[in-house]
Symmetry: C2
Subunit: 364 residues, 2 copies
DNA sequence: ATTAGCACTCTAAAAAGGGGGTTGACAAAA
DNA sequence: TTTTGTCAACCCCCTTTTTAGAGTGCTAAT
C-alpha cells in the first residue's frame, strides 16, 4: 500500500482542475474521466480520476449537468483557475509589437482614442471591448474655453489632463460679446487649471460672490457657465462599448440567450456604467489594478454567464477610467488578461503623455 | 360565367398581396390559401385564391420555400408593398408628442445629439438605428478655433453649420504662442466662415502663397493647420450605430445567421459608411429624401435578408447626413417609415436651429 | 370565373431506436 | 490506503421512422 503525500495529491487535483478548465473552454463540452486519463494523466486510470472528480464536485469546483455525461467547471473553479492555476501569460515580444503598432496607428489616425481602444480590445479578444471614463468631475482640468457661435450661444470646450475633450453648447438670453468671452476664458484658465471640475465650480462661485474685479463685467456669463458646469451631462462619465458583433462570431446558438441578456445590460448604458463605476471605486479603494469578475460574481444577475476582465487607468495620481472586455464565462482567461493588461498600459501611457508636457506660465 | 372587370381583379390581387405581406411580417410563417380565405377574403374559396397566388408567383411576387407549405413574399413583393400598398401611416398626434418630448429630453440632456438620435431610432423601431454624417469636407464651416494645450500642441475645434463639432490635436515642432493662435483664429474665422472645409483649405493656401500681411507672423502654424485639415481624419464622415442588441430581442434563432452577417457589415465601419455614402449621393442626385432598400436591392450581398429605411438630412441647401434603421427584411415598413421620417425631421430641425442664428458681423 | 373534391407532396413535430461515453459501486490488486 | 478493472445502469445525442397537418395542383362540376 502506497501512502500518497498530501502535496502530491493536491498537485494532481490541481492539474486535473486546470486541464478541465482549459479543455472546457476549448471544446465547450463536459469533460469526462476517460478524456482526462487519455489527455493529461496517462499514468492513472479513469477510475482514480473519477474519484478525484467526485471530490472536486463535493468541494464545489465541478458539477454535472446530467447524471452521466462528464463534468463542467463552476464559477468557483474559474476563480481558482484565474487566481492560482493560470500562470500569468507574458505576451510574446512579437505580439506586443504588433499590438503596439496597431495601437499607434489607430490612435493617431482617428480622433477618438477611447473608441479606438475599445475596438482594438474587441478585435483582439474576440469579445466586446469597453472603455469607461469616470466622472469628469473628478478629473483635473487642463483648459476650459468658450467659442462664440451665435449672439446668444457659445460652445464650451473642456480638456482634462487625461486628454478627454468634452464640449457642450451654452445658451443665454442675452448677447455675449466675444470680448467678454475672452476675459472669462483667460480668467478661468488662470485660476482653475489643474483643479478638478468640482473644485473649479467652487472657486468660480467664490470669486463671483466676493465680487472679484476681473469678473465684474462677465458675471452674467459666468453664472450661466457655472450652472452648466453643474449639470450632469457636463461632469458625467462616459462609456464606449464596441464589438458586440464579435461576440456573435465566437459563440454558437447555445449562447443565444446569454448574449441577449448581455446586450440588455450593455445597452442600458446607465446600468452598465454604474456597474463599472462601482467596480472602479472598489478597485481604487483596494489599490488594485486588474480585476476579473466571473459569472455569478457579478452582482447583476443577467451577467451570470459572462465574465468581465478589466483594469483601471490612472493619470498622475487619479484613477480616471477603466477598460476591459466582457465576454462568455468560458473564455481564455490567460490570454485575455494579458491582452487587457497590455492595452491598458498603452492607453495609460497615451493619456499620461498629454500630461507630460504641462503648460508653462510663460507660454501663456 | 361571371365576367370580372379587370380593375376588380387587380384590386383583389393587391388585397391578397398586401395581406400576405402583413401576415408574413407578423407571423414569419409561409401564408397559405386557406389562411387568406379565412382571414381576409371570406367570400371567395381557397381554390380561387390558389389560382391568384399562382399568378402572383408567376409574376415574381411570391415564392414557395417548399412545394407544399404556403408562400412567402419576395423582395419584389415588399417593394410593391412599400411603393403602392402601404398607405403612408401618419403618426398619431399622441405618439408624435411623445417622441418629440423624448427627443428634446435626450438631445438637451446629453452632449452628443447624433448618438442620441441613433439610440432613439433603435429604441422606437426595435431594430438598429444609425446616423451618418457625410464628409465634413463638404459642410459649411461655422467656426474653426485653436486652443493652446502645451508649448508644442494645441487643440483644433471645428464647428460646422449643422452643429457638428470635430476636434483634433495639432502637434508642432516649435512653441506656439497663444498670441499667434489668436491672430490665426481671427483671420480664419473672418475669411472662411460659411465656406466648406475644402474651400477653406484653398483660401488659406492662396493667402499663404500670396504672402498676406496678417498671416506673415503665423505662416508656420497656418501651414501645419492646413496640412492637418487635409488629413482624412479631419474631413471624414462619421457613423453612429446603436441598438444592435435590440435586434436580438426581436428575432428568433432562425435569424441567427442573418444577424451575424449584418453585424459583420455594420462593424466594418468603412464598408457600411461607403454604402451609406453611395446611397446618400444617389438620393441627393435624384433629389429624393426617403429611401427603402429591401433585401437584395442592397448591393452588399450580406444584407440580402435585411432592409434599410433611411432619410437624408439637410441643412440649408446641403445634404449633410443620413439617418435611419437597419433591420430584418420582414419589418413593419409602414410604422418604421413614419418613424424614420419623423425623427429625421426633428433632427433636421435641430441642426438647422444652429444655423438659424447666424453670427452678425457686429457681434464679433 | 369559381368552386369542391381529391390525390399528392412536403414539412415539422413526435416517437423510437441505437451508440457512445460517463458514472458509481465494488471487489481485487498493489 | 490507494489504485485499478470491471460492469450494470444511465442518459444524452444523433439518426431514423412515423404521424399528423397543411398546402398545392389538377380536374370536373357549377
Amino acid at each position: 500500500m502506497r501512502i500518497l503525500k498530501p502535496e502530491v495529491a493536491k498537485a494532481r487535483k490541481e492539474k486535473i482542475l486546470r486541464w478541465m478548465v482549459q479543455q472546457y473552454v476549448e471544446t465547450r463540452r463536459p469533460v469526462g474521466s476517460q478524456m482526462i486519463a487519455d489527455g493529461v494523466l496517462k499514468d492513472v486510470s479513469s477510475a482514480t480520476i473519477r474519484n478525484i472528480m467526485a471530490e472536486l464536485e463535493q468541494e464545489g469546483y465541478l458539477y454535472q449537468p446530467h447524471t452521466s455525461g462528464g463534468r463542467i467547471p463552476t464559477d468557483k473553479a474559474y476563480r481558482y483557475y484565474v487566481d492560482y492555476l493560470a500562470n500569468v501569460q507574458k505576451m510574446a515580444a512579437k505580439e506586443r509589437e504588433q499590438i503596439e503598432k496597431q495601437y499607434d496607428a489607430r490612435v493617431n489616425e482617428v480622433n477618438n482614442m477611447l473608441v479606438q481602444t475599445s475596438r482594438l480590445l474587441a478585435m483582439l479578444s474576440g469579445a466586446a471591448g469597453f472603455v469607461y471614463t469616470a466622472q469628469v468631475n473628478d478629473q483635473r482640468i487642463q483648459r476650459l474655453d468658450f467659442l462664440p457661435l451665435a449672439p446668444g450661444a457659445m460652445l464650451a470646450v473642456l480638456v482634462t489632463q487625461s486628454g478627454t475633450v468634452r464640449h457642450w453648447p451654452v445658451h443665454m438670453a442675452q448677447v455675449i460679446s466675444p470680448a467678454k468671452l475672452q476675459v472669462l476664458s483667460r480668467f478661468i484658465n488662470d485660476e482653475i487649471a489643474g483643479h478638478t471640475l468640482a473644485q473649479a465650480r467652487q472657486i468660480l462661485w467664490q470669486y463671483l460672490h466676493s465680487g472679484h474685479r476681473e469678473l465684474a463685467g462677465v458675471a452674467d456669463v459666468a453664472t450661466q457657465v457655472l450652472k452648466d458646469m453643474s449639470a450632469p451631462k457636463t461632469g458625467g462619465d462616459e462609456l464606449y462599448v464596441e464589438g458586440i458583433g464579435r461576440l456573435l462570431e465566437n459563440t454558437t446558438q447555445e449562447d443565444y440567450e446569454d448574449l441577449k441578456q448581455m446586450m440588455r445590460v450593455v445597452e442600458e448604458r446607465e446600468r452598465f456604467s454604474s456597474l463599472l463605476n462601482a467596480k472602479l471605486a472598489e478597485l481604487d479603494k483596494a489599490d488594485k489594478r486588474m480585476n476579473v469578475s466571473i459569472g455569478s460574481e457579478n452582482k447583476t444577475p443577467e451577467l451570470k454567464n459572462l465574465s468581465i476582465v478589466s483594469t483601471t487607468c490612472r493619470v498622475g495620481d487619479k484613477t480616471v477610467g477603466m477598460l476591459g472586455i466582457i465576454g462568455p464565462k468560458h473564455m481564455e482567461y490567460t490570454r485575455v488578461m494579458a491582452l487587457v493588461n497590455y492595452i491598458g498600459s498603452l492607453l495609460e501611457a497615451s493619456m499620461n503623455h498629454w500630461n507630460a508636457l504641462p503648460l508653462e506660465d510663460n507660454d501663456l
